[in-house]
Symmetry: C2
Subunit: 393 residues, 2 copies
């Protein structure tokens, strides 16, 4: 699937089975940079956060990374002081293999909340990862990150800077517990560009806000969300910052990779078979447009209506009404794709069949105009089927 | 079912089929007071609200009621100026039958958002309601209020005041779109007590806050929620106010009726087969405890875990973590009924079978202690099954 994609220069990766998951599928991954890379990170805003998130936040102060090591199957969340020791052990063992500072190792876990990590499997797993690390192991690495995901998620961008080829390759996992401001979602971005550390962190934050933070599967936000980005400079270009003439092109490539990964996550939403874009404009502010869009995207009644191919615009009116965005009922227009369902807060009179045609598609948009001011926002979401309930039993 | 329950003195009611619902089941109800009754009302806080809600709010200024007339099947919401005319016509026709001021008539609708009311069915329906109005029509009235409800909802309390019998009888409907601050939920409270109008309104607000506003089925709040309370004084007692020696006993009876009706709604949650009490204590304030309890009660991941008899306390930790309540991970204790699952933010070590035993019950509690301060709150909710998704297709 991604066998054609190779990592940027100076990166290696691996995905192996360490026996953490009872099923024997891949459950550990490594991303390794030959040279120290500028590190950036964005983490869950959940007050309850996993041990590896705490460790990554601390290591990010150092700002330099040599490797990301991760496991799936167990989240190492709600594991107390013992869990933090486990995460530190994972980092220490990896640092030993590279012979680098322990702060240069970033650790992630995803899976079940509660149990402690089985260190007796993790430590040999790290050895196995280093043995198998290669530039072309992209597919295996993405597979090892998966939990309820049905497919691995990788995106790539390439551009020319200073006459040299620069590459960005990103990995992601996530299918449920997905709600803006991230949720059981991990993503790793690698690039052989050289980027000023402060610029890199600001760029990642901005790209995440416009991609991963614009998606919602079920409105639940996880304890482990992490996006890490490593820029190792191995392409040989000069160090980029916001004043570089190539900065905009590079930032757009970064945002494109993040956006593609985010869309892969929504498309792989647990049990979902429809992709829905909720666009709100005409709000008092962008922030209020966002509140209205999220209320629509997270409403279980909307999600089940979409699952049932039922164009129930009344439920959409209801959702925006209880959102914290200012809404003047008489001004609201709602369109399913380009077909207007609501005009001035009332039904437009368009035949129901035309609306059913839109929601029958596997990919459609709900376009809402509050007609008050100029605030706008978009959220990408999916429907909620009986299958979602079964998956989360 | 409720054939033994008769209305308080001086009230009559009726439930009939006016042909609004295609199925031919009962779809209009009337509650009629012989004498002008002190009126109190609490309404949806949704910015998008139905025409009858707007009309009731205006009529409540008058403070006196002779009748409540309602239909199910069509919500008369998002119906613009025409919808308001329809609601006014319903009130005017009812006032004509009684020969009273139109402000003394309260109108409610529940059902599908969008379509206009079929006045050609509603007007004859009102005539039929007056023909059939009787003190013992409690069952029929409750049935006519139903939409996705599987059973009618009536509660009663009786007490002695001044040596006279005082009665409170309440009706309710609601099964989905139920989230605190009400949601497609209608309730009518009748009493033959005499109550000072201002006291009556304050008492209703307080009782609603402690009953209907403490339940959540799916986190969606409707456009039509209305609780109306009529006190006609026909028991012959003196007028009660907060200084009356019998006030506390009377208020407790009112709250009991509201609470019983609210519990009936959660037990009848769309597709639900488990009743879950979420109790939070130890929060910074009661308000924060409420935020934490609602985050747990409204999480789709928790609701589906309960449906699957899966005691996933990690998801509960996750929910309180992203709630707006202050949470210190290391202090959190969580109990399933009295069985401790989480101690100091980590698993307690109690055998999983003991927790499964608790969530296998059709009625259990999640007790959370944040161990920070003394704020507490309780929310009553239900699980989310595949059936919920099917109902809302």
């Amino acid at each position: 699937m991604f066998s054609e994609i190779h990592l940027p220069k100076g990166f290696k990766c691996a995905g192996i089975s360490a026996g953490i998951k009872a099923s024997g599928v891949k459950d550990m991954a490594l991303i390794l940079s030959d040279a120290p890379a500028a590190a950036a990170g964005v983490f869950t805003t959940n007050q309850v956060c996993a041990a590896p998130v705490k460790l990554c936040r601390a290591h990010l102060e150092h700002g330099v990374a040599r490797a990301i090591v991760m496991n799936s199957g167990i989240a190492n969340a709600c594991t107390g002081a013992e869990g933090l020791v486990m995460a530190k052990n994972m980092a220490a063992e990896t640092a030993k293999m590279i012979d680098c500072e322990v702060q240069e190792i970033f650790v992630c876990s995803t899976g079940k909340i509660g149990p402690q990590l089985p260190l007796a499997k993790i430590i040999p797993g790290i050895g196995k990862l280093f043995e198998s690390a290669l530039i072309e192991n992209v597919q295996q690495t993405a597979e090892a990150m998966m939990t309820t995901d049905t497919r691995p998620k990788v995106a790539m961008a390439e551009l020319q800077i200073d006459g040299r080829q620069v590459k960005i390759v990103g990995f992601a996992k996530g299918a449920g517990m997905i709600e803006p401001n991230m949720a059981t979602m991990l993503s790793y971005i690698t690039t052989d560009a050289a980027v000023d550390r402060r610029t890199w962190q600001a760029a990642l934050k901005s790209a995440v806000d416009r991609s991963f933070n614009r998606i919602s599967v079920d409105g639940d936000q996880s304890t482990n969300d992490t996006v890490l980005a490593l820029a190792n400079g191995e392409s040989g270009i000069h160090v980029l910052d916001e004043n570089s003439k190539d900065w905009n092109a590079f930032y757009r490539a970064l945002e494109k990779v993040c956006f593609e990964l985010a869309m892969m996550i929504v498309h792989d939403g647990e049990g979902a078979d429809k992709f829905v874009t909720v666009q709100v404009k005409g709000a008092v502010s962008d922030e209020e447009a966002d509140l209205a869009a999220r209320a629509v995207a997270n409403s279980l009644l909307n999600k089940t209506a979409w699952a049932g191919t039922y164009p129930d615009w009344g439920r959409i009116m209801d959702s925006i009404g209880y959102s914290k965005a200012k809404v003047t009922e008489e001004l609201v227009d709602i369109f399913y794709d380009e077909t207007q369902a609501v005009a001035g807060g009332c039904r437009s009179g368009v035949p129901q069949e035309d609306l059913i045609k839109v929601v029958s598609q596997t990919d459609f948009a709900i376009n809402i105009d509050l007609n008050i001011a100029n605030g706008e926002a978009v959220v990408y979401t999916c429907n909620c089927t009986e299958e979602y309930v079964r998956i989360n039993y």
